[in-house]
């Protein structure tokens, strides 16, 4: 087993409840997560909204004080590292936020925004100027260098934000839904730029998205999350298909993604998304989180076990781990 770049072990994150009458003052958002991300991986995290994938992304860059378990980066605990020297850590780990509008300073020009980031890495004036020009050229926003963020279109703003992050030359990038709500004509460009940077600098990317189709195209390892728990991890997603063995939740994500791609799939007979409201009933932490929506629960003998015990991640074959009582 090679040394992992990022190691998340037994990690649980609690947040304080807003409701004062609630029985539990602290609500667990992430429960017992174990992940290991290797050098130069493109690691995908999939799940529906509210499953905690963005929270995990923010935890990986140390935006919250961690509550249980630990996250190690290069064999060193990140909270300690940030406490000792935050600058050093932030030079190596960067995050692309979901909303580019709030990530850019509205009172600075694009050029200055990027210069600010380049200054962290270099101190020579000439090299700074060269680097700013190179990044503006790479991101194809040279003609917008004197504009303010509100004058840019959505895609240009996204690229300006990306340029700022690549200017620091990090070794780990966490991309939190970088292409959601972007036009088709932009999506490919943003992903191209990210992957090119990864190739050139041998960087690691954690790609967070709800679109399993997109994740499968670009990632080499995928973790599927549901209700703050990892329910499946598999390598080389290109080899897998929706008819292979999967966790029932992954299966549901596959059908949903296929629904928009496949013309043949009829609208009324398809069953995916029927049980979506079961999530409204709160999950109390015991048993399988997916139990209420699961299609297997009526057919399988394990129905009783599902309610009582959370299934552990089990190796199904060489490159796939599934947490389900129904799959042996």
């Amino acid at each position: 087993m090679e040394d992992a770049l990022v190691k998340v072990s037994n990690f649980t994150q609690y947040f304080r409840s807003r409701d004062k009458n609630e029985k539990l003052p602290f609500i667990p958002y992430l429960r017992g997560i174990n992940l290991s991300i290797n050098q130069s991986d493109v690691y995908g995290i999939v799940g529906e909204s509210g499953c905690g994938k963005s929270t995990l992304g923010k935890c990986l860059v140390g935006l919250f004080s961690l509550t249980e378990g630990n996250i190690q980066y290069h064999g060193r605990e990140i909270n300690e590292w940030i406490h000792d020297s935050a600058d050093e850590f932030r030079k190596q780990v960067q995050i692309i936020f979901q909303n580019p509008r709030s990530a850019l300073n509205m009172s600075m020009r694009v050029e200055d925004l990027i210069r600010e980031a380049v200054k962290i890495k270099y101190s020579n004036d000439k090299i700074i100027k060269q680097n700013v020009n190179r990044i503006l050229y790479d991101m194809q926003i040279e003609h917008k260098r004197r504009d303010y963020p509100h004058q840019l279109s959505g895609g240009e703003r996204r690229r300006a934000g990306l340029g700022r992050i690549l200017a620091v030359e990090p070794t780990l990038i966490i991309a939190d839904e970088p292409v959601s709500s972007l036009d088709v004509s932009y999506k490919g460009l943003i992903i191209d730029l990210l992957l090119k940077y990864k190739q050139k600098n041998n960087a690691t990317i954690v790609f967070i998205s709800h679109d399993i189709h997109l994740i499968n195209q670009i990632c080499n390892r995928v973790a599927v999350m549901f209700m703050g728990k990892v329910v499946e991890i598999f390598d080389n997603p290109k080899k897998f298909n929706h008819y292979d063995i999967h966790h029932p939740y992954t299966q549901e994500l596959y059908t949903a993604a296929l629904f928009f791609k496949d013309k043949e799939m009829s609208i009324i007979s398809d069953k995916s998304g029927e049980f979506i409201d079961a999530e409204y009933a709160k999950y109390d932490g015991t048993g399988c989180p997916y139990f209420q929506r699961c299609e297997l629960k009526n057919t399988m003998m394990c129905a009783l076990k599902c309610k009582e015990k959370f299934p552990e991640l089990i190796d199904v074959n060489d490159n796939q781990k599934i947490a389900c009582h129904g799959i042996k």
Partner: protein, 361 residues
């Protein structure tokens, strides 16, 4: 059975007056026809004027004073087409000239309300044409519970002798919303997908003729998108509704639409039945639609269309798309940069039309 279309839009133009006497042409020549029970999909990049088109139908513009030209005909009863445009839009034009403009600025709201009532627009809005916006949280009133929304919004005409409570319960049940919790909760207490379904339930309870769905699936995750699509299809089949879908996602549009309109920089580029437009073997197709199709089918070389989409106020001479067009790049003899291709002709006579120099006699 009348053969009149439910909604017919010809040569629609929207022009905004700017402060220094200049004008901004937001929409320049959009035409489409919508029959009863059909679903029309409007595709285009952001800034192509998709939303402005439907705002013009209802006469609600964010920026004032907007001048709307062209014909918008809406079928009021079986045999009568009411022109939504000519009467009140002439007023817009005349009022924005001369001294009266200032008064109009001051009493904008009151003025607009009186104009609406005079020409019957307020009866159409909400009752006959129901619009759903992209962000349900900003569309639903944060101070009202869901129950109050139903009480205030659903008109008496569409109750059919039932009480508001009964109508609400029926609508919520239809869309799989838990009826014990939802009516008493506020919009911020529900998730994005549930808010979107509450909005569709409201649209269903109002029983309109046309539903306009403006980017309702962006911001939702993929499981919720499937649910929304299913519910839309369901109410369309049950009530024989017409729906106008707006999206930049070709997958979402292709799943539901009977007809498709492709917009680029405020102009309709192609209009026709969905089978013809989405058929990759079809040769008579606008280069822009072709590239969008290739990206969607993952057969595109780059994965994105090279070049920037034009800004909202940018006016390009000749064909609007020629700067990014592959056909023009490979074959510059076409003269697209100078001569604009001819406009759409009568849409009822010829259902599939392309605005491109390649396919014109």
């Amino acid at each position: 059975m009348s053969c009149l279309p439910l909604l017919q839009v010809t040569n629609l133009r929207v022009v905004f007056d700017l402060q220094h006497g200049s004008q901004k042409r937001i929409i320049d020549d959009v035409d489409f026809v919508l029959n009863k029970g059909e679903i029309l999909g409007i595709v285009g990049e952001s800034g192509s004027g998709k939303t402005q088109t439907v705002l013009a139908l209802l006469g609600i513009h964010i920026q004032n004073p907007g001048v709307v030209k062209g014909e918008i005909k809406f079928q009021i009863s079986d045999s009568r087409l009411e022109d939504l445009s000519s009467s009140h839009i002439d007023k817009y034009v005349s009022y924005s000239k001369g001294k009266i403009t200032e008064m109009y600025y001051k009493n904008e709201k009151r003025w607009k309300k009186s104009i609406d009532q005079q020409y019957g627009l307020h009866e159409i809005r909400g009752n006959r044409i129901f619009i759903m916006f992209q962000d349900p949280k900003s569309y639903l009133n944060p101070f009202w519970t869901i129950r109050k929304h139903f009480k205030k919004i659903v008109p008496t005409r569409s109750l059919d002798g039932l009480s508001h409570e009964e109508v609400m319960i029926e609508a919520l049940k239809k869309f799989n919303l838990p009826i014990d919790q939802v009516p008493a909760s506020y919009p911020h207490q529900l998730s994005g997908g549930m808010n979107q379904r509450v909005m569709i339930a409201l649209g269903y309870a109002c029983k309109p003729d046309v539903i306009i769905a403006d980017e309702i699936t962006t911001g939702l995750d993929i499981v919720n998108q499937v649910v929304v699509v299913k519910h839309l299809k369901h109410i369309q089949q049950e009530c024989n509704l017409s729906i106008i879908l707006i999206s930049h996602d070709l997958g979402f549009i292709s799943k539901l639409s009977d007809k498709i309109l492709v917009l680029y920089n405020g102009q309709g580029m192609e209009f026709g039945p969905a089978d013809i437009i989405l058929d990759p073997k079809q040769t008579r197709k606008h280069p822009y639609t072709r590239e969008l199709m290739e990206i969607f089918n993952e057969s595109h070389k780059q994965g994105y269309i090279s070049g920037e989409p034009p800004r909202r106020d940018e006016i390009i001479n000749g064909c609007r798309f020629h700067k990014r067009c592959r056909e023009y790049f490979n074959n510059p003899v076409l003269n697209c940069s100078k001569n604009a291709p001819t406009d759409f002709t009568d849409l009822i006579q010829a259902p599939h039309q392309v605005r491109c120099a390649l396919f014109q006699d």
